[in-house]
């Protein structure tokens, strides 16, 4: 069973291109459909938790599935399985990137990809802002949360003006927001 989990998550790691949300259907396929290790309901609960808690979604789900099915060893095995393909593939890519990145042609190709990456990061920022301000991924102006809007504005101001660190801001909004909500 442990070996099977390991192999399942190696496949998840190998075929999930494009991040956590791409991995979810693959994990579902392996765990719920093929090996019937969990019911769909259990799996849906798991994904909710994996999205709610900090950390990469696919690592979260790997740990969760592993713990549920085989305790701590299961969690470790699933995570290693999920990470292993990344390790080899990205190590090879990193090697070639640092070997050839100074070449003129390579520089030009990379330069065209950089603006796209900026746009992708911006779009991820907008998604999480909408999620933060409206509590869901649909914008309903009536439901806007004033506290979160204020925290966002203050946070951005502190970052621009005083160059605070990311962790200070995220932790700070967590504490400030929880305090505000417990008083109103």
């Amino acid at each position: 069973m442990i070996l099977q989990l390991f192999w399942s998550f190696i496949q998840v790691g190998m075929f999930s291109v494009g991040g956590g949300y791409a991995a979810i259907p693959l994990i579902q396929n392996q765990i719920v459909d093929i090996h019937k290790l969990m019911t769909l309901q259990e799996f849906t609960d798991l994904i909710t938790i994996a999205e709610m808690t900090p950390g990469p979604i696919s690592i979260n789900s790997a740990t969760f599935v592993g713990t549920r099915l085989a305790g701590l060893p299961g969690a470790i095995i699933c995570t290693i399985g999920c990470v292993l393909p990344s390790f080899f593939i990205c190590l090879a890519l990193a090697f070639f990137y640092y070997k050839y990145r100074q070449l003129d042609g390579v520089q030009k190709v990379l330069s065209a990809m950089r603006p796209a990456v900026v746009a992708l990061i911006a779009s991820a920022g907008i998604s999480i802002l909408v999620l933060g301000l409206f509590g869901s991924s649909t914008i309903v102006l009536r439901d806007i949360r004033i506290v979160e809007l204020g925290l966002f504005a203050v946070g951005l101001f502190l970052l621009r003006k005083y160059k605070l660190s990311a962790i200070q801001i995220i932790f700070g909004t967590g504490v400030a927001g929880t305090l505000i909500y417990s008083f109103i």
Binding site: F64, S111, A116, A124, G125, S127, G155
Partner: protein, 198 residues
């Protein structure tokens, strides 16, 4: 002395990836913007362009984006040892958190304070991403190349309004980049031929 230095880098790498992973919510681009802030702006270990390249590679490779980015980043800082340390730093916090949660599953789900804290922290995460994006976009505009500014605008509209996948956006830009790199070479050849004729 050198050994000691390497150990220091590894320890800092571990600390940085561990805290970033512990405070990241949602998709891979979130942790990537936190990495940019930490490694480019706060620690000064990487150049901005390098971080964007790493992001593009991490996004286009199979596997979790934060892990992919950690592998490349770790390799850059301290070779294979760096890679292993960075993976450990990124994978450990979710493993600890999830292991705890799966034990206290019901208490966790019903705890209002935790739910509120997790919800409001998103506003902070969004602020950090916007801060990073403002800096990045400024630098793209500074290149003054219409091609790059155009690509950024089109890619932004495509992902936000039309929900085009990140993978497709990167592939299209890769193709455009290749064309952009090849055109001057062809032009040079054409000019050389014409000159040969004369």
């Amino acid at each position: 002395m050198k050994e000691k230095n390497k150990f220091k880098i590894l320890w800092q790498l571990f600390k940085a990836t561990f805290t970033l992973s512990a405070f990241t919510f949602g998709g891979g681009f979130v942790i990537v913007s936190l990495m940019k802030k930490k490694f480019v702006e706060e620690l000064g270990w990487l150049e901005e362009d390098e971080m964007l390249d790493i992001t593009a590679i991490a996004q286009s490779s199979p596997g979790p984006i934060p892990i992919n980015a950690s592998v490349i980043l770790g390799y850059r800082m301290a070779g294979i040892a760096g890679t292993l340390v960075a993976i450990l730093g990124t994978a450990l916090p979710p493993m600890i958190v999830i292991s705890l949660i799966s034990v206290f599953y019901t208490q966790f789900r019903e705890n209002q304070v935790i739910a509120t804290a997790l919800q409001v922290m998103r506003a902070g995460v969004a602020a950090v991403i916007f801060d990073v994006v403002i800096n990045l976009a400024k630098n793209v505009v500074k290149t003054k190349r219409a091609l790059y500014i155009g690509l950024m605008t089109v890619a932004f509209i495509a992902t936000v309004v039309f929900d085009v996948s990140a993978m497709l956006v990167i592939l299209v830009c890769l193709a455009i980049g290749i064309i952009d790199a090849v055109i001057p070479v062809i032009r040079k050849e054409v000019v050389a031929k014409e000159e040969a004729k004369i």
